[in-house]
């Protein structure tokens, strides 16, 4: 069993709220839920929609075939070709047929609640799940519950959905995962400038700032954000910044500074459709190469690409650990699809990585900010400790004083680059690639395409999916071996030129010829992928 409900209307009509509530109800009834959000860059009007896909077995992506529609702006006709036969369309037309009370249908928001009650009632799901979920989402819930009850009572049984007994489903977005992973890593300071689709983490952390004792601040621009963040990290705080492509472009000079001055920093980059302003509220995987190589000069970095909210928690905690242990910038590469979609999990886990600032306890009088060490990692101290601590954007000697001397320039470059070796070994234990399914044919992808690819595997016997989760340091051997052993290799990416394919070519020498690319701002759906993969086969 796998079903999808479309909830559509104008911006401002509360469709996100209604979809989230439906997701919560289904999730608490023991179903696996995925919610995809499709909206334009406007505040009121337009035509936005959410797709709520759910099933009694795990769901990792949305479908484009709808069994029911909550249609708030009478535009469901636009989606006609995506309705299954006999789909239930709930809108004003239906209301007048059914003689539903007019006052509730004219009331903004209560109409959503009425229709939601009707939908859930038709499935025979317990009313208390609906009411519990509403109370969780709303402070003022009396009116909403009244409208829902009304709708619930009007519904005649359509199809019985049993409540499944589960220990408890977790229901969250990629944004939630990154925020939670950061807090679990001991985050002290989060700086950002609002930019879709990265704003969610700023909002989520601001919501939790008081209880979790973290400093969340919105500054004048991304340049100030990252330079202040490097000051804060130098000053001893566990620090993260967040942005999307355009803001990340503004940050690149300071990413190079983090590399040179060896200041730990975690950077959350949630991609949207580019280039330039692009399409702000739509998704893409167009910044892989940019993130991997951003910044002038040569220096080591970490780039992780989570594929779902659980991985967002995992990879965020790894990014913090690696940034602080190795004194370098670590980038978490997400996108609109992962950041803003809801996923369900039977269980959530937080990796057993202990938050650590990696600061020496008692730096001695002979402390050097840039000591030349065998593994390239210079012990870190912070100002206020019993020594002088220096951070230098200019090339420097071991004490951190400026130098232009040839042999020191070379030594310092070598020292910084030496960190890459230890880093590569370190990430081995964290599954830099993940494999799904079995088969001689290989699908390669990264990031948020994970969901649609996993959901397509059941229709693609003989295929396995290799998900590349570390873009830097790059898991060269794992990718190389998987490609060598495969009969057929297909690259799947949400961009126009196959950026992971280019990175694989650079790192391994393998050119992947078969590519399935999508670059219309929309994420893949599983059925579409199955069709396109079968065409290649």
């Amino acid at each position: 069993m796998r079903k999808s409900v479309l909830i559509c209307g104008q911006a401002g009509q509360g469709i996100n709220f209604t979809a989230t509530l439906l997701g919560r109800v289904l999730s608490s009834a023991g179903y696996y839920v995925f919610i995809y959000r499709d909206y334009g860059s406007l505040i009121r009007g337009g035509h936005n929609f959410n797709i709520v896909t759910f099933s009694d077995s795990p769901v990792h992506s949305h479908d484009n075939k709808f069994e029911a529609v909550i249609d708030l702006d009478q535009k469901a006709a636009q989606h006609r070709s995506n309705l299954v036969k006999g789909a239930l369309v709930l809108n004003k037309e239906k209301a007048s047929q059914e003689n539903w009370p007019e006052d509730i249908l004219e009331s903004k928001y209560q109409v959503n609640n009425f229709l939601l009650g009707f939908l859930v009632g038709g499935w025979g799901l317990p009313r208390k799940l609906l009411i519990q979920s509403t109370k969780r989402e709303l402070k003022e819930w009396t009116q909403a519950v009244k409208a829902m009850n009304w709708g619930y009572e009007q519904a005649s049984p359509r199809e019985e959905l049993p409540v499944r007994s589960v220990a408890g489903h977790y229901f969250l977005t990629g944004t939630n995962g990154v925020s939670s992973g950061a807090i679990a890593s001991g985050l002290d300071v989060y700086l950002s400038y609002p930019m879709t689709p990265a704003t969610g983490v700023l909002v989520e952390l601001a919501r939790q700032a008081k209880t979790r004792k973290i400093l969340v601040a919105q500054l004048e621009d991304e340049v100030s954000v990252i330079n202040s963040a490097l000051g804060a990290s130098y000053g001893g705080a566990m620090t993260m910044v967040g942005t999307s492509g355009g803001g990340f472009a503004l940050m690149t000079e300071a990413i190079s500074l983090a590399g040179m001055a060896e200041i730990p920093l975690v950077i959350y980059l949630s991609q949207r459709t580019g280039p330039s302003t692009g399409v702000p509220t739509y998704t893409a995987q167009g910044d892989l190469t940019f993130a991997r190589f951003a910044g002038h000069g040569e220096f080591p970095r970490v780039v992780v690409a989570p594929g779902n909210p659980q991985e967002a928690i995992d990879r965020t905690m790894e990014a913090f650990y690696l940034a602080y242990r190795y004194r370098l910038p670590a980038i978490i590469l997400s996108d609109k699809h992962l950041s803003e979609s809801y996923y369900t999990f039977d269980n959530l886990s937080y990796p057993r990585i202990r938050p650590d600032r990696f600061v020496v306890n008692r730096p001695g009088r002979d402390y050097q900010s840039y000591a030349l060490t065998a593994n390239g990692i210079s012990p870190r101290a912070v100002p206020g400790q019993a020594t002088w601590v220096r951070a230098n954007s200019y090339e420097h000697d071991q004490l951190g004083f400026t130098t232009e001397e040839a042999s020191m320039i070379q030594k310092m470059n070598e020292k910084r680059l030496r960190k890459e070796k230890a880093l590569g070994q370190m990430v081995q234990k964290w599954q830099p690639v993940r494999s799904w399914g079995r088969g001689r044919n290989l699908i390669i992808g990264w990031g948020s395409t994970q969901g649609a690819i996993r959901d397509s595997l059941s229709e693609l016997p003989g295929y396995r999916f290799l998900q590349v989760s570390y873009l830097a340091p790059f898991p060269r051997d794992e990718v190389q071996q998987a490609i060598k052993r495969a009969e057929k290799v297909i690259l799947v990416e949400n961009n126009a030129t196959g950026l992971l394919g280019q990175l694989i070519a650079m790192e391994t020498g393998h050119l992947i010829k078969d590519k399935i690319l999508k670059f219309d701002g929309r994420p893949f759906a599983a059925d579409e992928l199955v069709d396109r993969i079968k065409k290649i086969s």
């Binding site: 804060a232 959530l348 002088w388 220096r390």
Partner: protein, 282 residues
């Protein structure tokens, strides 16, 4: 005269550069601060790029040699991490008034407790002589061979409009007054902007005589009076006329760190309850 704050780095300013006078004054000021009980391990020098950036190498304190134009956000970030640190930023007119003007305006508005020394010689010196946004009209620099056709703006007036809580101008030609003002700036709780107006002896040697003649002290000026501050600040437009020196404006406002309840995060022992984090998503 040797100081605790000396380093062994070779001084690469031009022989006779007045930055040396400023450096000596800063060292004296810091020495006095340390003697008055300030923990010298809490002193941080943040440097921009250009001749002013070299203070990083010549001052033996904690230091951050930042990007061009970004000394101010870097200094601000250091205060976000640990409000106990005393942060002193060194910038030139390029970093403060051209590349980083944006940040000057916002720090003035937000009022973090730190001091910005802007060494203003009205020239890009280290890149060998180009006009800055405060160079007078008509100046012949390497990129304006026919003479600059653009007029300067008044950055102190901008800082005042942005609600800076401490605005002053000093000159290394009067080191005693300079030291007194820098000390007050460092002790001021909030954002203090001190413009050090000085000649570049390599590219603008004639300024040496001009500054000697044109600078005067605004002794007796009422520091808390906004309108008087505007009047004195705007009495010199960075081109002609007499150049006022002294503290033009000083008021007390809550600092950014106070308003945002910033703590020394490094000293905060966190107990992270992962099961509570997890519960958020049930």
């Amino acid at each position: 005269m040797s100081s605790d704050f000396d380093t062994s780095q070779v001084n690469t300013w031009c022989p006779g550069c007045l930055n040396n006078v400023v450096l000596r004054s800063v060292k004296k000021t810091l020495t006095a601060l340390a003697e008055s009980g300030v923990n010298k391990r809490n002193l941080v020098a943040v440097a921009d790029i250009g001749c002013a950036g070299k203070f990083y190498d010549y001052l033996n304190v904690n230091g951050f040699y930042a990007l061009h134009g970004r000394a101010l956000p870097t200094a601000f970030g250091i205060k976000m991490a640990n409000p106990e640190l005393k942060v002193l930023a060194f910038l030139g007119d390029g970093g403060a008034y051209a590349e980083g003007l944006n940040h000057l305006v916002h720090l003035a508005r937000l009022n973090p407790d730190l001091t910005a020394l802007v060494l203003n010689n009205r020239i890009f010196a280290l890149t060998i002589g180009q006009v800055t946004p405060v160079t007078e009209k008509g100046y012949r620099g390497s990129t304006t061979p026919e003479g600059s056709v653009d007029s300067p703006y008044n950055p102190l007036s901008v800082a005042l409009s942005a609600q800076a809580s401490f605005i002053a101008r000093v000159s290394p030609l009067d080191p005693a007054s300079m030291e007194a003002v820098i000390t007050k700036a460092i002790n001021h709780k909030g954002f203090s902007l001190v413009e050090v107006i000085q000649p570049c002896i390599t590219f603008r040697l004639s300024d040496l005589q001009r500054l000697k003649e044109k600078c005067y002290s605004v002794a007796g000026h009422q520091e808390g009076d906004y309108l008087k501050a505007r009047e004195v600040i705007e009495s010199w437009n960075y081109e002609n006329g007499r150049i006022p020196l002294g503290i033009f404006y000083r008021v007390n406002r809550p600092t950014w760190e106070e308003r945002h309840q910033v703590r020394n995060w490094f000293r905060l022992k966190r107990r992270i309850d992962k099961s509570a984090l997890k519960k958020e998503w049930r």
